[in-house]
Symmetry: D3
């Protein structure tokens, strides 16, 4: 359950409105790596975390903080959009080309849809969707995704930071940059903790003993003259398993070609018969064979009974 | 430029068709972390990589390999879908409940849309979209995303691996598992190489000297009784900058509240006047003030000229 | 800023796992009118509300409550998914058709993607997106949307309620039904309050004095023999403005036909010249004429100066 | 079945082209609350309406009218886009900054994709999708959604109205404003009619006797110092059921915490064993227990028969 | 403007309900090539057609017919969904595996969302979106898209036709198949008419005299041992221009490599300096150079004036 | 399996950067008919082609070529984006309105998200999704889609070609135009080859003998005064089947009206009982009746056995 206070976690006070910058700042609100993404990603991971105690609590602590970050950005956006253009300004714009530029560059949904507020969309107007987030239950995998999200988020914040010279906006972004610096480390340290607690060796390797050996430590190159083999990833030993990393030219490792089988005649797929007759869809794979066996046994069992009469 | 050979990189030979399993395998084709995602992510990163040589070549090597992985999976899918149900089977299904189950559980687009082939969609039928991939140009950030993608992809492959006992399918997935094991390390070693080559210290920290200090090394907790502070992420020193990590209760750090300013009267936003009069949209922030100054100077410059006459 | 407690707002304790029901319950999590929708809709409306005090606080109170509702549903989902099928079960399913049915009807992403947890998606696997929510700043319009969301949400909850006989699930849904009953009224009473406070007359009617008169109180019918005119909406007086509602057959009210003008020749649009020559894109509407006037005046102003030499 | 006439329902005659305004007008064509939305929403509700006569006919009357509204807007758009910029204009734009502004602010898909026509997208270029519409079969719920759609649609029309001073555009929008004024009332009067006809009491309350009592008439507050309790929604009696509305602080109402159960070991979810052993997916909830009972009874029934031999 | 009649264009009378088949039939309602697609595609093309008379009228005739086809399918769907499962049926399903299969295979949104009616979605539950349709204004291009849409639509109808043996459903689909047969020809004959009327030679070839010569009639092969050169597309003469089609191995035709330039230092893109210093974003391409020239001329013009004083 | 070379298929060398043009060029990268679409469409069709030899090889040849076209466009984009604006430029823009225009018209994700590289999105920022492509297995249908894709793609390339005067950009687009000219013919010749090889008569007509006769060769008109009947599509003989094409007014051809049946009472759909009682969802169509028959027979078979004892 959650509680709310009216105070923001940090100040979101621009010195002056700036509708053009607000259009750009949308990327940090509702973009692939905006605040909505980390808020939703951490809340879902926290709710679904199966290790009670420090892991679950930590994830929900940061998830809860991120709700407040969306709140800060929405407040900042509303202030940047104060007095944003919303009138017929053909005359004015013709006489004032810089106004025309603002009219062109602003996000008109800020006027038409929200009436001067943030949109749950990215800087191109694409609605946020949950295809951006991940919640696998495997903390190593999810922490890897979280490090990446914080790194990408910080990079985009840094780029946006260069697009304004408003001291109030910069002040808030300096706070966001710092959190992203810390949060990258928080998730990396979380992986260290997972290793220390014996949950993983740092590489997702379930079914490790069943995977093929050679492709597990070989760098294949598919480009003539590739310098790919010169990097650390193609030399020395693997991080787990202590294999020597090998380099090999990309080549077929089996004897298979990309040929699909004869199609079902009821699908009207173009076919020349070269792979034999297609099978109409009366079978459904392994399930049915087993089921038919079972049923025929049941029938046999029943039939004799009748004969008993 | 690319070339193609008809041979697959590795075998994709199921022992028997299985339409229900094919529906699940779609997740590894067109899901958030399916083969289409890594193929497109690496190709785009490679094309846009600004460090010629080992980095750019390595990324394009793996991107090229992944095109072949989509090819393998599509071939496998077509073989699993051989003879999948496509007819009216009300009678048959009523007499054979296991067939009814297959009819219920199969993906009907495999029959209706592709005629027995893979779909560029996930296991729920959601079309693949490029919102799944990232290409920031910053190799640290992108390699972090790539480690995460390989870890998540391997985890999902491992889960799918448990859903079949077909030796041919398992054989191919053992190859995929191995590649994902190696590729996780490839990207982690790529980060080591980036550090060694002096491109990064492992944390995205552009504008490092402008970010706030304390929020850069503090774990805030927002849950009463949270055990979050017990983890490594809340103790010891930071990974960069050698700060002591601190713990603090989540609390407002500034003096700001979440209040939006008076709205533009032309937006018909509900408002009680308590924050003063709203500003109609005749201004566009800093741009306009500057432009007006410029224009008025230009006018001044012109006006005296006329006076010269 | 937000705080979190580990306790749920209400119990989410199913008596037993049920993977098939969990697939249906997804609709109440991430569907068009699921809990994610109301959570996000109210938080955004609250953050952007321009009337401080009872309105803004009320909206944020309910928005904060709804975060906890998503949490309740996620917890319920994880419990319903306990031990959900995730193995190869061809043999078992063939021998046990009911298991085959579960395998067919369950949502395989619950196994492959989340490892036994809820997805931020609807019952068909479609990711939640922010195109479901609205935040216009006009409280009348938004409260109308909120009544609708609560009514639709309650209806879907009621339908899902019939799909289980698990007492623990029913217990939680009885709580949700009650909240939706209250929340419908909360928003309707909110509209009453808006009227009482003088913010609206209950109908969005900005620019009321500029709209056309007759189409503002006429029911047009476009179906031969339509009984549409028999309803209250086609009789008596309007709710605002005290007009007699009129009925008229749907007919062109002006003299215009659906003809597009001659196309730009540079667009290669198929055209027979019957509407005269198309205009290439050298003009941009009203802006340019004004701008050109301004510039030519400036030029004129400059040119005489030179003549002065 | 439908018929078409070439005449528009109302005039769509702009006085002059205006590519920048056309980009904004897209919101009223293909936005969340544009004409495509109400057209599709009403047609689907009408086709699926289960009350023949005045309700079904009325819904289809307005649905049919709305097809014509999309037609009007498309015609208007083509006329606004006449001669919109489509050539290389670097030189011209450099010499004419206002042209540069138009080039920046116009929607380039109007030139590249449609060749000077409307797009079935919103003002940010996002394709219209059917996730915007609702068709629940419950007329109360759907009429609530329809009132909201008309109110939001009218508000956005009003905002767009301020962005032009073209008398022809304003003339058409005055017609649209009037229809939206009437349509809001049409749906509200539809609800009155539903109540009068005994279909509802105005609140969706199926399963009314099973819902929890107290949460059905209580305003919970989750913000310290919230003024939410000062509104009508927190005082007086409910609209149905004649309860006194109560106010209570948001607090856990049960004894449950947000803990997910032990995970399935085959999901490789991170877990410390603290909740006991996870269950592999061999069970599927209530269905299977019943099915196994049935099958074992059948087996028993069969086995003795064999013994009879 | 449009009119409606209550009668369907053709009968939509299934002999009996069939919830499983209804789930499949969704593909023909809201799939990529379902009736919603052709309805919307033709209406938009018709409204935007620039050749008045037989072309514009024909397109709107078929567009208007297709609205009625969506209506037929929605009516059929509601009838197929009559009495579809919507209750808790764990007990019943356990005792009746075929019921369990239906519960698994049905589309639960038919119960939860629409209450027994069609959804504006495809057979996998993906909402219809306007990214499926095309409206370019070029009738050759659009008629090519329309032939394709009718061919794909007919193929999917044919596949779905095999999935039912209900005489009433088959009766309606026989009507749909016939329309798709005719409509394919209608659009092909439309292309013949366009050629006869002199609008095109059957190939979109605007800027024909500027395109490169050789790549305009050469089949490049990128696969070792490709048999691609054996087809008619690689032999004989072109359809326009009377060139001999040539075959060539895929090879670089210029001297360029896939190297991106030095990045902007403010983007924090990883870069080793090997391509010189990156340029920060102070320039915007050709526009600015021209603009600066203009402004500096203006300044010069102004400055001497002052000197005149 | 695929191989890569560092050389581009053709040069992608702009003479100078142009951020505004780059924003437009995105349409040819990730739009509905951009290079990503044809690349993915052909690769998937090729992998799934069931006719080995010239057809499969040809499709994969062109699919492989198109990967290289995406590569060319990405390289071109990075070069056009060199030095694109990324800094605070309020001061500069105010003093230089043309810079303001560029700032407004550029795609800010080129700076914020990719750091100066192409996006896998269209010119409005909408992510590419696989709903754009088709892979039906029926080569006639797919070649029809491919002709359309190439025609639309060429048209959009031609329109974009007019938007630049950069000789390097024009040089590359001249190559693209030529390929699109050839590829349109390639697919049309492919259809000729399919006919020659006996796979089709050029019209998708599976189940030809079951479709209705008259609707297979009739043009229905739904517009008063339509000139639609004047075209070739309404006169002469059909392309297959040698029927005289007929013209008829659009009229109901059966006796059916658009009435949905009585709803399931558990769906709470508004209903007046006029069509009898609704059926609760205890039945699932034809499947269940058959299943019940089977089970009751099985029970009968079992029961007598017991009686035998």
């Amino acid at each position: 359950m959650f509680q709310h206070t009216k105070q923001l976690q940090y100040n979101a006070k621009p010195e002056r409105p700036d509708a053009l910058f607000a259009a750009k700042l949308q990327e940090l609100v509702g973009g692939q790596f905006g605040e909505m993404t980390v808020m939703m990603q951490y809340l879902w991971q926290g709710w679904n975390c199966r290790v009670p105690g420090k892991y679950k609590d930590m994830i929900l602590d940061i998830g809860t903080e991120e709700i407040g970050h969306v709140e800060m950005l929405c407040t900042m956006m509303a202030r940047l959009l104060e007095g944003a253009p919303s009138e017929t300004q053909a005359q004015a714009a013709a006489a004032n080309p810089a106004l025309a530029a603002v009219l062109g560059g602003q996000n008109v949904q800020h006027a038409i849809v929200t009436g001067g507020s943030a949109l749950p969309r990215d800087s191109q107007g694409v609605p946020w969707n949950s295809g951006y987030i991940v919640n696998s239950g495997n903390l190593l995998c999810d922490f890897r995704s979280n490090v990446a999200a914080e790194a990408q988020s910080r990079l985009m914040t840094s780029r946006v930071y260069n697009m304004t010279d408003d001291p109030g906006v910069k002040d808030m972004l300096q706070f966001n940059l710092a959190r992203d610096t810390y949060h990258q480390q928080q998730w990396l340290l979380g992986i260290e903790q997972l290793i220390e607690d014996g949950f993983t060796d740092g590489i997702e390797d379930s079914h490790a003993d069943e995977e093929k050996t050679e492709p597990g430590h070989t760098f294949y190159t598919f480009t003539e003259g590739s310098k790919g083999p010169e990097g650390r990833w193609a030399q020395g030993t693997t991080l787990i398993g202590d294999h020597q990393i090998e380099v090999a030219p990309g080549a077929p490792l089996g004897d298979d070609v990309n040929q699909a089988p004869a199609p079902n005649p009821l699908h009207y797929v173009t076919y020349d018969g070269s792979m034999g007759e297609g099978k109409p869809g009366t079978a459904g794979g392994a399930y049915l064979q087993g089921a038919e066996n079972l049923l025929s046994k049941a029938k046999e069992a029943l039939t004799p009974d009748k004969d008993d009469d």
